[in-house]
Symmetry: C2
């Protein structure tokens, strides 16, 4: 039985795009949320070898620093032909938070391997969510969305690698979708609508730890 | 047109198991090979985000240090449900070069995710081979073998994660196979026989850079 979340929490991120999405996903629940960035908390070293490990590092650091439950997301783009790169290093491939060179590097590596056919361009986004409490308890949830990487990138919405990722079943990239489309219409009542990796991880989190207000 | 390899080369590894396999795979070609370990070369920092990047770091370091062409392998086990972990960190999960705790960690992470059904235990081994010359030229080759991870591990042969990996089409783990079975009978003349990730990468290397003596 997972521990329930209520009252005020810390969202353990310094990433504005991620914070915006997580606030929207938390909106249906009576949760007050400030972020690690807004609270001026230091950015912990992400030394884990899995998304869930890095999410746990961030959530526990924020919970210890504030005495409040903390929610973190560690996420990335896994390109099959690149053995899950950029993966854990998805943010590191950006230059001064600009993901245009990061997307160019993904495409360059695919070209090196002659990966031009659609079946050679399979990829997925993954989100690991960790809720950590000040007493050290934690709950872990994961979500994935499979699709393909495209070139050139399309759309100005979202953040990170969104413009170069087209989820299966869609003709549009995440960069061409509103946050509501990525999260899914009424995703809480209709969890099958949850499209993005983060929304899918939130479905699991909501079932275990949250109650609609 | 790839550059050909001949004469004396350095095998840029400090891993005895890998060195043994690479010497066997090089045996059909008139190549003399010493290793970075035998030459007392330092172990370079593997700071890359892809297997091919880490292989390139090792090969260029050895080529620069010795003035000879250098061949390196960077390889690892990618478990799908773990988003390619241990992946780049495959060797790091060992404790004092003992892979028993590394295999236990893989199994523990799969158990955490309830990954007990065969389709949740898909994995592959990948090998990236890089040949680097002292003038900075490089050639890159990759090989993969898909299969599943098993528990408990089986067999005492091979090295690393071999005992917990069963390649597709086989009932036995890599730990239960001789090097000759992993490499494939007469793999040079019958490249479809190449079974292991490393043997498959060697097929590509041999076609491009080597000539049977």
């Amino acid at each position: 039985m997972a521990r329930k979340l209520s009252g005020t929490i810390i969202i353990a991120t310094h990433n504005a795009g991620k914070l915006r999405e997580m606030r929207e996903l938390l909106a249906p629940f009576g949760i007050e949320a400030t972020s690690a960035g807004e609270r001026g908390l230091p950015v912990p070293d992400e030394t884990g070898h899995m998304f869930s490990e890095n999410a746990a590092i961030k959530a526990h650091a924020a919970a210890q620093a504030t005495g409040l439950p903390a929610l973190s997301d560690d996420s990335g783009l896994c390109v099959a032909a690149l053995d899950c790169a950029p993966g854990l290093f998805s943010a590191d491939w950006a230059v001064n938070k600009d993901f245009a060179p990061a997307m160019e590097k993904v495409e360059r590596e695919l070209q090196k391997r002659g990966a031009t056919a659609p079946e050679q361009r399979r990829a997925y986004f993954v989100s690991a969510l960790v809720v950590a409490w000040p007493d050290g308890h934690e709950e872990i949830f994961e979500g994935r969305v499979h699709g393909a990487v495209i070139w050139p990138p399309r759309g100005e919405k979202g953040f990170g690698y969104d413009p170069m990722f087209v989820p299966d079943g869609s003709a549009r990239s995440f960069g061409e979708m509103s946050a509501q489309e990525k999260h899914g219409i009424d995703w809480l009542a209709a969890p099958d609508n949850a499209l993005s990796h983060r929304a899918r991880a939130f479905v699991a989190l909501a079932r275990a730890c949250l109650e609609p207000r």
